[in-house]
């Protein structure tokens, strides 16, 4: 075991694409969410995340620590350019279950029956969106999945991407029945891994340089903004009728993705 390897992995966990990048993206996204969804104005939106982190550190720091470590673990698996973690060491499942564990750790801190139920349904749909392309490509490496451009699999990839996007608002605790302010601080840690994972799996990998890194972070932030927009749409009074249908829509879409996956698998294996 070489020290350089340890150093690189620590760098990945704590700095890039780990805790530091998570916090930067999280603060930006959380600020944008505060502006778009909150009613407290610019100042509160900018200072809000810091306040939430401070309160959480004083209140339930073990939860925050666990969430930070798990999300950092998930972030290391992303296909972010110049990731110190070698491509061979990455794994979609590690990211997926680290994030799932983080979310349920949050629910262990504060519980609401309807919120937890919605979260479970959406996570199941998200898992379908994440794994369906992987099943057909028989690989779980995010960068490989992002690079897949087999014509036969593109419809599945597109539908999975759409499903992923539909799931994000609930996964990021922006929509649904959220039990109080307890989960605001951990949410800051979720933006980068969730949006970055979507970018890794559904968009072609960027070049392995600074420009590529910026492009990746930019794409991640864009996805975060789209998610905020969807969440804002769901919170509109006009979309009141849409909210109850949201879970059904996600479930139906997940069902469709599965059907397309089965059909594609049957076709590709038949050919």
């Amino acid at each position: 075991m070489s020290w350089s390897a340890i150093g690189l992995h620590l760098l990945a966990l704590l700095v890039y694409p780990g805790v530091l990048l998570i916090l930067i993206v999280g603060f930006l996204a959380e600020g944008a969410a505060g502006l778009a969804l909150g009613r407290d104005g610019m100042r509160a939106a900018v200072s809000g995340p810091a306040v939430q982190i401070r309160n959480a550190t004083a209140g339930s720091w073990p939860l925050l620590l666990a969430a930070a470590l798990l999300t950092a673990l998930a972030a290391t698996q992303l296909a972010v350019p110049a990731n110190p973690l070698a491509p061979l060491e990455r794994n979609l499942l590690v990211a997926a279950f680290s994030l799932a564990a983080t979310i349920w750790l949050c629910w262990a801190r504060a519980w609401s029956a309807s919120g937890a139920r919605a979260s479970l349904v959406v996570q199941a749909c998200w898992l379908v969106a994440l794994l369906s392309p992987a099943l057909l490509s028989e690989t779980l490496r995010p960068q490989v999945l992002g690079a897949v451009a087999v014509p036969a699999q593109l419809p599945l990839k597109a539908m999975s991407g759409l499903l992923y996007l539909v799931c994000l608002p609930v996964l990021l605790l922006l929509a649904g029945d959220i039990p109080g302010p307890h989960l605001a601080a951990p949410r800051i840690l979720l933006w980068m891994p969730f949006c970055g994972l979507g970018v890794s799996v559904f968009l072609p990998p960027a070049a392995d340089d600074v420009g590529g890194s910026l492009r990746f972070v930019g794409a991640t932030l864009c996805l975060a903004l789209v998610t905020i927009a969807v969440a804002a749409l769901l919170r509109q009074p006009l979309a009141a009728g849409l909210r109850p249908l949201y879970l059904r829509l996600a479930s139906v879409l997940a069902g469709l993705v599965l059907v397309v996956a089965v059909v594609t698998a049957a076709l590709t294996s038949a050919i």
Binding site: L105, A116, L135, L140
Partner: protein, 582 residues
């Protein structure tokens, strides 16, 4: 040295049982401590002897005959792996559960019998050992609570009878049931089917509630959870050996698909029941079925990675079996960590085992890949159920049964799981891969995959696992994560102690949040849950027409047979005579 690997662990436990019995007569009763020490010593002796020896497979035939078969012992990587899988949870439970000296004696004897069962070099010996172990556990269960666990007794009897029959079928087809000598052609579909049914019943691997969950409904948990820790791995053992009998293959690829499907169904069923549990104990009762279902899914894949994943998942399952009964009541950090570890949260070995299982399923083919997706869904549901379980009332808290479950046992078990998760490559490289290579020789089934090889599964420098579909850098990612967590927790602990506050272990994260009243309702009502109950009710409601009922009343038929006396004798004789002379 190889013989020592075989005989030392059970011998230590038998001696400890004798000492514990003697200690029960004397004062103070230190039987439990003696047995616990012996269990850890046996584990150390097993590991030491195995690592010190050449780690090859060797057989011993002393020329003795016990029961109806010649004594034949075998030590190889599979034996050692399963002995670790039996000894580790047994040692945890014998150490941290409350037992009287006589209970400790019976528990030690049952553990020794389980080890003896694994020492056997033939399937017949395994069946005999399983029967002995089951008998001892039955006595232990009954002594603890004079209520016969009918399901356990019936299921285990059926299982071992079927296993005996499998051995008989193998002997009639191949002339022997000795693992090292069974001809490849001997394991045909009928024998394998019987063996699989035996294994599934023995390990409680059923999509519905099996004896494993039922053992958690007892007032005291000590005997039932020990039975789970000992019997569940023993049930899976013949299925692993079956690969060896078929030179790395099961009789047909369809059998692999069916077993993998059953494993998926078992895992999903357990997760569904777990999310609907009314108490935390009910939730914990489903932890082992979930783990064993995912292990069976991997075992059914029939690929080298699948087998390695299955063996790793079996080790993980054994830790879950040892950890679940030790989860302390309340919602403190220790309880949360223990529940999270058992539910497969990273970076513990449970997580790693399940990760490898799903990965292997994805790599094995498109059908099994979809099984993998269902398995992953079960895993996710299990995590959700774990979060809900933290809010559930713990029936065993306070002065109730299982009271006094301390934090130490849970901490030790969780630490063991996390350490094994960090040292995953050592676990896989020293136990799982050699065991898989033992039953799936390189030259045999998958020449294209090069059989079971370290290079195909472990990454460069053995810092993590790296397979065709993905990697997991256990040492370099999990290690630092755990280290950072430990440093932070210790620092906070010290800071809080300085601030003269109570231990961090006994409060946060959730203690300052009142549990919801009433306890959280299930995510969804388990589908088909009422079917067995309804079917039983319908069966009970079935009524024969009055005039035919006497035909199904043994007492009435008995009376007729007895009081019919000579006339019945004469009639039967005449009828049989006519039958044979026609």
């Amino acid at each position: 040295m190889a013989l020592a690997t075989l005989l030392l662990p059970p011998a230590l436990l038998v001696v400890a049982a004798a000492l514990s019995w003697a200690a029960g007569l004397a004062r103070p009763p230190v039987g439990r401590q003696v047995v616990a020490a012996a269990a850890w010593l046996a584990l150390a002796a097993l590991a030491g002897a195995w690592l010190a020896a050449a780690r090859g497979s060797s057989e011993f035939a002393p020329g003795l005959t016990t029961g109806v078969i010649p004594v034949r012992l075998r030590v190889d990587a599979v034996t050692v792996l399963f002995q670790v899988a039996v000894l580790l949870p047994a040692a945890l439970l014998l150490t941290f559960q409350r037992r009287s000296s006589s209970e400790a004696t019976r528990a030690a004897l049952a553990t020794a019998a389980a080890l003896g069962c694994l020492d056997g070099g033939s399937l017949l010996w395994t069946a005999i050992g399983l029967g002995v172990c089951t008998s001892l556990l039955l006595i232990h269960l009954y002594r603890e609570e004079p209520r016969v666990s009918t399901q356990f007794w019936v299921v285990q009897t059926v299982a071992w009878l079927l296993l005996v029959w499998t051995a008989v079928l193998l002997e009639s087809a191949g002339g022997t049931s000795v693992y090292g000598a069974i001809p490849v052609t001997a394991l045909r579909l009928p024998a394998f089917a019987v063996m699989t049914v035996a294994a599934l019943l023995c390990s409680g691997l059923l999509p519905w509630r099996s004896w494993v969950s039922e053992a958690w409904t007892r007032r005291r948990l000590e005997a039932g959870t020990l039975a789970i820790a000992l019997i569940v791995p023993l049930g899976l053992y013949p299925l692993v050996r079956a690969y060896g009998m078929g030179a790395g293959q099961w009789p047909s690829i369809q059998t692999n698909v069916v077993v993998a499907a059953v494993g998926t169904a078992v895992a999903l069923g357990a997760a569904v029941r777990a999310q609907g549990a009314a108490t935390r104990r009910r939730y914990l009762a489903e932890a082992v079925p979930l783990a064993s279902g995912l292990a069976l899914l991997a075992l059914g894949l029939g690929t080298p990675l699948g087998l390695v994943a299955a063996l790793t998942a079996i080790l993980a399952l054994s830790i879950v079996a040892g950890l679940a009964p030790l989860v302390p009541p309340g919602r403190g950090a220790v309880a949360v960590v223990a529940i999270a570890v058992a539910a497969g949260a990273p970076p513990a070995v449970v997580f790693a085992g399940w990760l490898l299982a799903i990965q292997a399923a994805v790599e094995a083919g498109i059908i099994t890949a979809f099984f993998g997706l269902v398995g992953a869904a079960a895993w996710l549901l299990g995590l959700a159920a774990a979060a809900r379980a933290i809010w559930l009332p713990d029936t065993s808290s306070g002065d109730g049964p299982g009271a006094g479950r301390g934090y130490v046992g849970s901490l030790v078990a969780s630490a063991a799981a996390i350490t094994a998760g960090v040292a995953l490559t050592a676990v896989v490289g020293l136990l799982a891969i050699p065991a898989a290579a033992e039953v799936m020789p390189t030259s045999a089934v998958h020449p294209q995959s090069g059989g079971v090889s370290q290079a195909a599964i472990l990454g460069a420098g053995s810092m993590g696992v790296s397979t065709a579909s993905g990697g997991w850098s256990a040492v370099l990612l999990a290690g630092p994560l755990v280290l950072i967590a430990l440093i932070t927790v210790t620092a906070a602990h010290l800071a809080r102690r300085r601030a003269a506050r109570i231990s961090v272990l006994e409060e946060v994260p959730a203690s300052n949040v009142a549990p919801p009243q009433p306890p959280p309702e299930p995510f969804f009502a388990p589908p088909l849950a009422t079917i067995p109950h309804d079917a039983a009710r319908r069966l009970r409601a079935l009524r024969l027409p009055e005039q035919y009922r006497s035909l199904f009343r043994p007492a009435l038929m008995e009376r007729a047979a007895v009081w019919g006396g000579p006339w019945l004798w004469a009639a039967a004789t005449v009828a049989l005579t006519i039958a044979v002379t026609r």
